[in-house]
Symmetry: C2
Subunit: 237 residues, 2 copies
């Protein structure tokens, strides 16, 4: 009576290799790597079942033996990338350690600019994500807080990093699919913004944009945001 009867699948629960039948020609890791290679080179939109299959050197529909739906391919990609997070020894200063984690995530996203678009809580418990989470919790051992609070810290920090780096990269990634450069479009938008502000209808916006004229230092904004998030979890004393 649920209306939907099919059995849900989680790619990680499905065994990599079945007993019967011919030897599988590709591993999950190979497939993820191929997809990541395409996304890095030509953008996320270039990742189609056909392209990945071609990159792997097999027929399009063969891919569906390994990856039941395209969403699962995305999940494989995110997990593969998450594996690039390395787990170093915590220093005992949770604040410094979490800052390091955040910067590592940012570096990861710069290496793979499509990652923010795929970041979803749904993929949050893939094998490599679990390793990553455990590492974060180890870093947070010195923090006097419940595990619940620590998880909220990790989620919020990840959220802020994803949002900020996503913004940082959005313009660049956009350029790929547009017939003009990102700078040109931004100039157009700034021009429009200027014309709207010049009407005097938005006095505070006008003040905001004349006060700090010139390009804002995104790097510094990111740094401040991180600091504020961590501040918010500092035990009050």
């Amino acid at each position: 009576m649920t209306g939907r009867s099919a059995v849900p699948e989680v790619i990680w629960a499905r065994p990599e290799r079945a007993g019967r039948g011919p030897r599988a020609a590709h591993s999950r890791a190979d497939i993820a790597a191929a997809a990541v290679r395409i996304a890095d080179a030509d953008g996320l939109d270039a990742v189609s079942m056909r392209h990945v299959a071609t990159e792997l050197g097999c027929g399009t529909m063969s891919l569906y033996n390994y990856v039941p739906r395209k969403e699962d391919l995305y999940e494989l990609m995110v997990d593969a990338i998450s594996g690039e997070h390395d787990s170093w020894e915590p220093t005992g200063d949770w604040r410094a350690d979490m800052l390091r984690v955040a910067h590592q995530t940012r570096a990861l996203m710069h290496r793979h600019p499509w990652l923010p678009r795929l970041m979803s809580p749904v993929y949050g418990f893939s094998p490599n994500a679990l390793r990553y989470l455990e590492h974060c919790l180890v870093c947070l051992d010195p923090l006097d807080a419940s595990y619940g609070t620590k998880m909220e810290l990790i989620a919020m920090l990840n959220g802020v990093v994803t949002t900020y780096v996503g913004n940082e990269l959005a313009t660049a990634e956009r350029t790929r699919s547009l017939p003009w450069s990102a700078e040109q479009e931004q100039a157009m938008r700034i021009a429009y913004l200027g014309s709207r502000i010049a009407t005097g209808a938005y006095p505070r916006m006008a003040a905001a944009f004349t006060q700090d004229a010139g390009p804002i230092d995104l790097e510094a904004v990111f740094e401040r945001a991180l600091g504020r998030v961590l501040d918010a979890f500092e035990p009050k004393g």
Copy 2:
């Protein structure tokens, strides 16, 4: 020598109606409303140029007279929705007022569950977004901080709201395109998580999940997150 020569367009800079030619049969607002209606009813993926055109009662390609690219349609949608933000009189308590703004945004996203997916800094300066930003700045008048800092507050609050409500809605929105229910999938994922944790490889994760067993109160998590963001901008003293 830029490699990309076409002239960039911003939909808002383009006049709604040209001088020459027959009277335009549809307004930008009509088009946005039609697209929003479809997205609300059948999900964002149902918003195609063909569907919107049909909903409007015109040929598919006629739509391109109003909306040069599908991205611009998205931009129209986000702006139309942003118009639902109403600008009430600030109370003088910036913290309370910003909380109210955040809750209003959450309500908006619950009404239009596809909004988080379209939230992009690129669309940040549409007409209604400008009104919204100005209203936020008015609410922040009592806060002793530079406009730069205030903009960072607004950006961070919006980011956190988008992330949290996005997570909140992701599962529900996912169900639409899946042949099984979101609950079923979540159960599968929890089961997988349990099996991984049972290996003992992630002791802190295990502790985290046994400590606060039972479904977490997303509402309370959201509230705490908002509080923490606002705390972070409280002038220290």
